[in-house]
Amino acid sequence: MPGGLTVEGLSKTFAGQRALDDVSTSFPAGEITALLGHNGSGKSTLIKIFAGFYEPDEARTVTVFDRELSLPLSPRQAHEAGLRFMHQDLALVDDLTIADNFAFVDHFRTRTELGPISKRREHRRVAEVLATFGVGEDPGRRVGELDTTTKTIIGMARAVQDSRTSRDDTRHHVLFLDEPTAALPQDEVERVLEVMRAIRDRGGAVVLVSHRIDEVMRIADRVVVLRDGRVVAERKRAGLDPDGLVELIVGGSAADEGRRAKAPEDEVTLSVRGLRGPRLRGIDFEVRRGEIVGIAGLVGCGRSELARILAGAQRAEAGTCTLAGEPFEPKTPSDALRAGVSYVPQDRRGAGCITAMSLQENLSLGLLNRFFTGGWLNLREERRSTRDAIKEFGIRPPDPRRLVAYFSGGNQQKAVVSRAVRRDPTLLVLDEPMQGIDIGAKREIAQIVRNLADEGVSVVVGSTDAADLVGLCERVLVLNRGELVAIAKGVEVAEERLTLLAANPDSEEEPDQ
């Protein structure tokens, strides 16, 4: 195979468990390969071996653009071979300029180590690079002032530059991208995909890790699917349909989309009137008992703010809320929890769970008084109750003492959701619960939410990805710039329609209340 990356017979064992089992695959030049699989399927282990972070069990060679390199690589060797990695957090320094951020990877192009640095020349060169990727920003701008999409493109453009240590400036790269679009508003994803195509068309190999099936269908030339550390499929994307792709990832036939066992009741649990905040501009809606209501909209539409106000994490500027007939104006998250509102925040790792604590400690956060009897924490009772929750919510691996940092994203999210559910809420508020987790975990969380609603709990789910709301919500409120612009019901809760409404509210008729 010409160019790109080829590897054969790669295995990696952690503590007796096979994370990679005899993996042979290739990421050819001039193609975008989607690397797919559940959290824990071995994708990240594979990438980390190339990044020089892990050693394979047995020495192997990897061929990168016709150069044969022996594994393990050091991170420096990987870089010099043209292997590039872009992480979700982009590793850009907000307080520095675009040009200075380039210099980290690219080094200042000076004649000697001691300079002199020509700011003008640096800026001109960076501007030229950015222009080839369709970014017209001034290289002297602070990265912190840019929007996430532009930052993502800059991260990608930077990754495929070469430091002056390499002789050949036109050399090609294998670029690994970890969920580059996960944090982007849906209408801007295309700009990032366009940059991926540009890198491919210049002869680079692009490896895309993504949980967004629609995106993979749109952009990938090939798909490589891992399951339990093995390559279960490696084929052209053309000829695959989304269902087939999901089937490959999940294994066997895709399970049925879940169904509600019961319909929502008529009784109103939450009533919101004229709610205002820094973003929200007067929102009215109601949620009935046992109803699952979605909130769709682009980044900045006020969705997170609405969730935070309901959770007591932020104060409303005006408006009234009623919860189960009582006035509801939480000043703190604990007020909201006492009133019966549980919250799953958007930032799972930063605000949802405490990654440095064990699963058990996370699950009983805020609930310890249940186990505090006779002046002592009953640790055995806490452990027993944790095991029950692990079983009930299918958290894997089922080890209460394992640090939350070591769980996959989907299992971390199940832990956060299960803690919220364990408080027996009357209203559950979830903000982007499906972000960055695999399809299997998405389905499990959707089913947890449905079961809860069947028991009479009211649920509000916010998401920028309309696909997450379809099949789950009875009604979806569409927000645009802080205003409620439409409410979709029943068959109207379809991905195309929600996306259209969120992006172009003006093209639609007046919202019906």
Partner: protein
């Protein structure tokens, strides 16, 4: 650009099967030995040091007299080290504990020399210590000033207060035996302050490990926003940590005056580094990576035994300071290196 190196934050790090506790048994003997050595490294070091000094300075170190005086002299620094564990666990520094000790030492000396009963002196001084903690809490939690700066400022104010109270003199007149006995009474030949240290350690362990308060305090220190969203009042816990630290510092002040029978205007600052060194040493053992009570007790003993042994061997005057600093840096470095080794999860060390 290989930013995936930052393993602790990598969302890609989803299948690090080698890192969970349950998998420890499955790893090689070498890794397990390393793991245990790291976990109990400081404890092993303490034992080796005791054995070493007992052989080297066999005439002086392993005598009952030396050990009793060593414990008696370390009880007050020990209680102070426990005082810093709470704010540290909550993620904040309280640099005013040593100055608080100094101020309370001078204040209690003044009270005692004016003929107050020991009980009244204790109550008043503890109230002063608690009040200092409350003011710290109000500035840090209420106003939102960085704790490092706020308590540094508080330290300086208290040092000035000492000079105000004493005019720079040492207070000793009128401090009677009824007062000094609260620290110097002997129980089984050991000064009673050692018993206080032990009782406070047990209570502190109980509070940190067996109550919701301790767990929530740690949660506050690890991820304040996550703790708050889980319904924990992080401000109350933080304020509580400062007030308890202040009260314990005040107690150390009374005991210090009673132990010496006097209070110098300059007492205090010399207690700061050892207290932090002990707490940081403690965070490398027992519950590794977390500030914990028994680890801190071990840390206090490591510093005490090391300095005591070297002093008996005739070490010059600059050795204790260097020992304190070196012990802290070496211990923390070792913990970092081991954590890094574990993070990389090397395959099979046969």
């Amino acid at each position: 650009m290989s930013s995936m190196k930052s393993a602790d934050e990598a969302p890609l790090a989803v299948d690090e099967k080698g890192s969970g506790e349950e998998s420890r048994a499955a790893r090689g003997i070498g890794d397990r030995v390393l793991e245990y050595t790291a976990e109990y490294g400081i404890v092993i070091f303490l034992i080796l040091m005791c054995v070493g000094f007992a052989i080297w300075q066999s005439g002086t170190f392993p005598t009952s007299r030396n050990i009793k005086s060593l414990l008696g002299n370390q009880a007050i620094p020990g209680i102070l080290a426990l005082a810093v564990v709470l704010p540290l666990a909550a993620g904040e520094f309280d640099l005013s504990i040593a100055a608080n000790l100094g101020f309370c030492s001078v204040a209690s000396a003044e009270f005692a020399s004016h003929g107050m009963t020991p009980a009244l002196v204790i109550v008043l001084t503890l109230m002063i210590g608690a009040a200092i903690g409350l003011i710290n809490a109000a500035i840090v939690v209420g106003i939102g000033v960085n704790a490092f700066i706020a308590t540094l400022g508080m330290s300086t104010i208290l040092a000035g207060g000492n000079l105000l109270l004493t005019n720079g003199n040492t207070v000793f007149e009128g401090i009677g035996e009824s007062f000094t006995s609260i620290a110097t009474t002997r129980v089984f030949g050991i000064e009673i302050v050692v018993l206080y240290f032990l009782i406070i350690a047990i209570v502190a362990w109980y509070a940190m490990e067996r109550t919701p308060f301790g767990r929530y305090l740690r949660a506050t220190g690890m991820a304040r926003e996550a703790a708050r969203l889980a319904g924990i009042s992080t401000t109350r816990r933080l304020a509580g940590a400062f007030i308890v630290a202040g009260t314990l510092s005040g107690l150390c002040g009374v005991l210090q005056t009673a132990h010496l029978g006097s209070a110098a205007a300059t007492v205090g600052p010399e207690f700061l580094l050892p207290a932090y060194a002990a707490a940081f040493l403690g965070a490398t053992t027992i519950r590794r990576g977390m500030f914990n009570v028994w680890g801190t007790v071990v840390g206090v003993l490591v510093l005490a035994v090391g300095i005591n042994g070297l002093t008996l061997a005739g070490a010059p005057i600059w050795v204790p300071d260097v020992f304190n600093g070196v012990a802290l840096i070496v211990a923390v470095s070792a913990a970092v290196l081991v954590a890094r080794h574990r993070e990389r999860a090397k395959p099979k060390t046969t």
